[in-house]
């Protein structure tokens, strides 16, 4: 059986530009907003037809509830608390010197409503809901649950729903985090297990809620059985390949020793794709062909999916995507504001 591992740590720097974190966060905060969204790191791995997705939501203080939505390539089998050091270890693998600066991730969550609720899970101060529906249904669900979506959300939700009608909504309850004794900067790792045929990484979603000139900085870590083929290629529009090599045994051993990470294979290829783009440049996603041949233009967002003529299959097709951490990174950017009535003009 084809084995392949795709992973990535996405970083929402976009949402949280390190150069001016306060300003970058400001757009994510509601009128009553006291919660700051920090950086989110994510790892996605693919092995034996199953996508493993690990990200972390970081408590940044404040109160109230915040949320966001993430497009998924398929219906998760399981959503559970993730291991404690997987994300940190990945960052150290490619940026060992700056390890001390790397761990600021965070936050998220979201929701939706007239969509079909497939799964609900509580992890620490996070309420996670897996939804199935079109962009309109998922957007309406979010609106009905108190989220104020940015103006680009309707189009972007349709963009993703046309490829996979599965979304993960997460709500971060800052009050619950405080009650649990979480300190600012504490992360809650989440591990999502998704059967799928081939992975892709949603990058376009990182720009959601951003102004056209806002910078998006993110790191995507991919771990595959062999050197993958990626699309868009050649890299441009703010995307660059910063690391591409056989994964070291020490990295794989370390990852495998973390909670829930026993699925990590014995060998693999580690790629790191860095995103440093303006929001207006991010009109694409990252498609990955684990076999190293021909990534899907549909998965990369370069071509619209063919219209479905038959009943929807819950199992993703080969063109469907493997979820993505980056989307998680963009959580905050996507749909925010819960429990705070929006203030209109």
């Amino acid at each position: 059986m084809r084995r392949f591992l795709a992973g990535f740590a996405a970083i929402a720097a976009a949402l949280i530009a390190t150069t001016q974190p306060a300003a970058a966060c400001a757009g994510l905060i509601g009128p009553n907003g006291a919660v700051n969204l920090l950086r989110t790191t994510t790892f996605a791995g693919y092995h034996d037809g199953v996508e493993h997705y690990v990200t972390s939501f970081q408590f940044a203080g404040g109160s109230g509830q915040f949320g966001s939505l993430i497009p998924l390539p398929g219906i998760p089998d399981k959503v559970e608390k993730g291991g404690a050091w997987t994300l940190q270890r990945l960052i150290r693998e490619t940026t060992p010197v700056t390890l001390a600066d790397s761990l600021k991730r965070l936050s998220l969550n979201a929701a939706s409503a007239s969509a079909q609720v497939l799964m609900e899970v509580r992890i620490d101060a996070l309420d996670i809901t897996v939804l199935k529906g079109g962009g309109a249904e998922v957007g309406q669900w979010a609106s009905e649950h108190g989220f104020r979506l940015p103006p680009a959300a309707p189009e972007v939700l349709d963009f993703y729903a046309n490829r996979s009608p599965i979304f993960l909504a997460a709500v971060f309850d800052a009050d619950a985090a405080k009650a649990r004794g979480q300190q600012i900067g504490d992360g809650t790792p989440v591990h999502v297990t998704i059967p799928t045929a081939n992975p892709w990484v949603p990058l376009r979603i990182l720009g959601l809620g951003k102004n056209a000139d806002d910078r998006i900085d993110a790191d995507v870590y991919l771990l595959t059985d062999q050197r993958p083929a990626l699309l868009p290629y050649p890299f441009a529009n703010g995307m660059s390949l910063q690391h591409s090599a056989v994964a070291t045994n020490s990295l794989l051993d370390d990852l495998r020793s973390d909670k829930g990470m026993g699925w990590i294979p014995r060998s693999g290829w580690l790629s790191k794709i860095a995103i440093d783009a303006s929001a207006s440049q991010l009109s694409y996603d990252l498609a990955v062909d684990a076999k190293g041949t021909s990534p899907s233009r549909v998965a990369a967002g370069l071509q619209a999916p063919a219209k479905q003529t038959g009943p929807t299959n819950d199992r993703p097709s080969s063109d469907q995507i493997a979820l993505i951490g980056i989307a998680l990174a963009s959580f905050g950017a996507i749909f925010l504001l819960r429990k705070s009535q929006s203030v209109v003009g």
Binding site: G27, P31, G135, A136, E137, V138, G139, Q140, A142, S143, E144, R148, L149, P150, P151, A152, A153, P154, E155, L157, G209, N211, Q341, S342, V343, V344, G345
Partner: protein, 135 residues
């Protein structure tokens, strides 16, 4: 979805109405404005002065929008506004997801008036248009 179907039917009916009116009089007195992907489908509308103008506002998005029409001073106030929801003022219409609302306004003097959605980022995203009141 039933709501979307109703919205589509309402839009078609109003479009037909608007066309009829426009051909009968130089300027229309019935205007249908559809919101889709956070954009108004009409951004410049000519209407006659001193005549009741009926606006049918169709929000085809799964998110909240609003339609506020007025002069620059009016919009300056709303950009810094703190109202959670707009009431029954005919020039300030809140539009929940997939909703259709109608309002009638009579403009008493010629000139341009802008209509804008003042939810955060919506104006910058392009949710603005102008009604030109013609003598």
């Amino acid at each position: 979805m039933i709501i979307r179907t109703l919205v589509a039917l309402a839009l078609a009916a109003l479009a037909a109405s608007a066309c009829t009116t426009a051909s009968a009089a130089q300027l229309t007195t019935h205007v249908a404005i559809r919101i889709h992907y956070s954009h108004f489908d009409q951004t410049k509308i000519d209407v006659p002065v001193g005549v009741p103008i009926t606006f049918t506002l169709i929000n085809d998005d799964p998110i909240d929008h609003e339609w506020l029409i007025g002069d620059e001073a009016f919009h300056a106030r709303h950009r810094a506004g703190t109202e959670t929801v707009h009431g029954d003022r005919p020039n300030e219409i809140s539009l929940p997801p997939f909703s259709v609302k109608t309002t009638t306004l009579t403009f008493d003097k010629p000139g341009p008036l802008t209509f804008i959605c003042h939810f955060p980022q919506h104006e910058a995203y392009g949710m603005a248009g102008v009604v030109v009141v013609k003598p």
